[in-house]
């Protein structure tokens, strides 16, 4: 179940940001998403926030929370799991 969410999030990142040359296997579960990792930027974060809220109902209000949540796909998955439970 946990692995499904990680895979699902990788697909969501690729589709939302139109990363046409990247496949889910290219994204490491613990690899950095921003900066020298996958190379995402602040505008990408804004796009992802909208997609995540739409799909999972989770809210990432600002960069203070975002820096922690967007560290890797694993940290993002953990945030989605925890906050979906809270919202349920």
């Amino acid at each position: 179940m946990a692995d499904n969410l990680v895979g699902e999030l990788k697909k969501l990142i690729i589709e939302t940001l139109k990363l046409e040359e990247i496949s889910p296997e290219d994204i490491e579960d613990d690899g950095r998403l921003f900066g020298d990792g996958l190379g995402l930027d602040s505008i990408d974060a804004l796009e992802l926030v909208v997609a995540l809220e739409k799909k999972y109902g989770v809210v990432i209000p600002d960069s203070e929370v975002g820096e922690r949540v967007f560290r890797s796909v694993n940290t993002l998955a953990q945030f989605v799991r925890e906050n979906q439970i809270k919202n349920a």
Partner: protein
């Protein structure tokens, strides 16, 4: 989408040694257009600061189609799209007034930060309300021919 319109005249210090407007000045012209539009709705930088926000530009695009020359009267047309994320994307058209020739188009994106540098991922309700009259105005049919 409606555009707001403001006029300028090309100044001597804006043309290069080829007699045409140096490309960098178009970005300053975008700023003239943006301030004219935002000023009408009390959304100038100081208004943002009073609410506890700043809105830095993070992306600029400009497409140059025809040159502008000294003393020509220029129309700067400015609009901004209803945001789908926590950013404001402005659109610009630069036209020569005498014949309506489109000289350049551009786009600029601003994000929102708190005064202590926290980037907002969601547009806060107070700012959303303050922006509403601007978007209501821009959604009216374009009155500019």
């Amino acid at each position: 989408m409606r555009y707001d319109e403001t006029e300028i005249k090309v100044r001597f210090n804006e043309v290069d040694s080829w007699g045409i407007v140096w490309h960098g000045h178009y970005i300053a012209w975008f700023e003239v257009g943006r301030m004219a539009l935002l000023g009408r709705f009390n959304l100038l930088p100081q208004d943002f600061t009073q609410m506890g926000y700043v809105a830095p530009v993070v992306e600029v695009k400009c497409f140059f189609k025809e040159p502008a020359r000294m003393d020509e009267e220029i129309l700067i047309r400015t609009s901004v799209l209803q945001p789908t994320k926590a950013a404001l994307t402005f659109h610009f058209q630069i036209l020569r007034k005498k014949d309506g020739k489109l000289l350049a188009t551009g786009e600029e994106t601003q994000v929102l930060l708190t005064l202590d540098g926290r980037m907002l991922y969601i547009i806060p309700q107070d700012l959303r309300e303050k922006l509403k009259p601007l978007f209501d105005y821009l959604e009216e049919p374009d009155s500019v021919a």
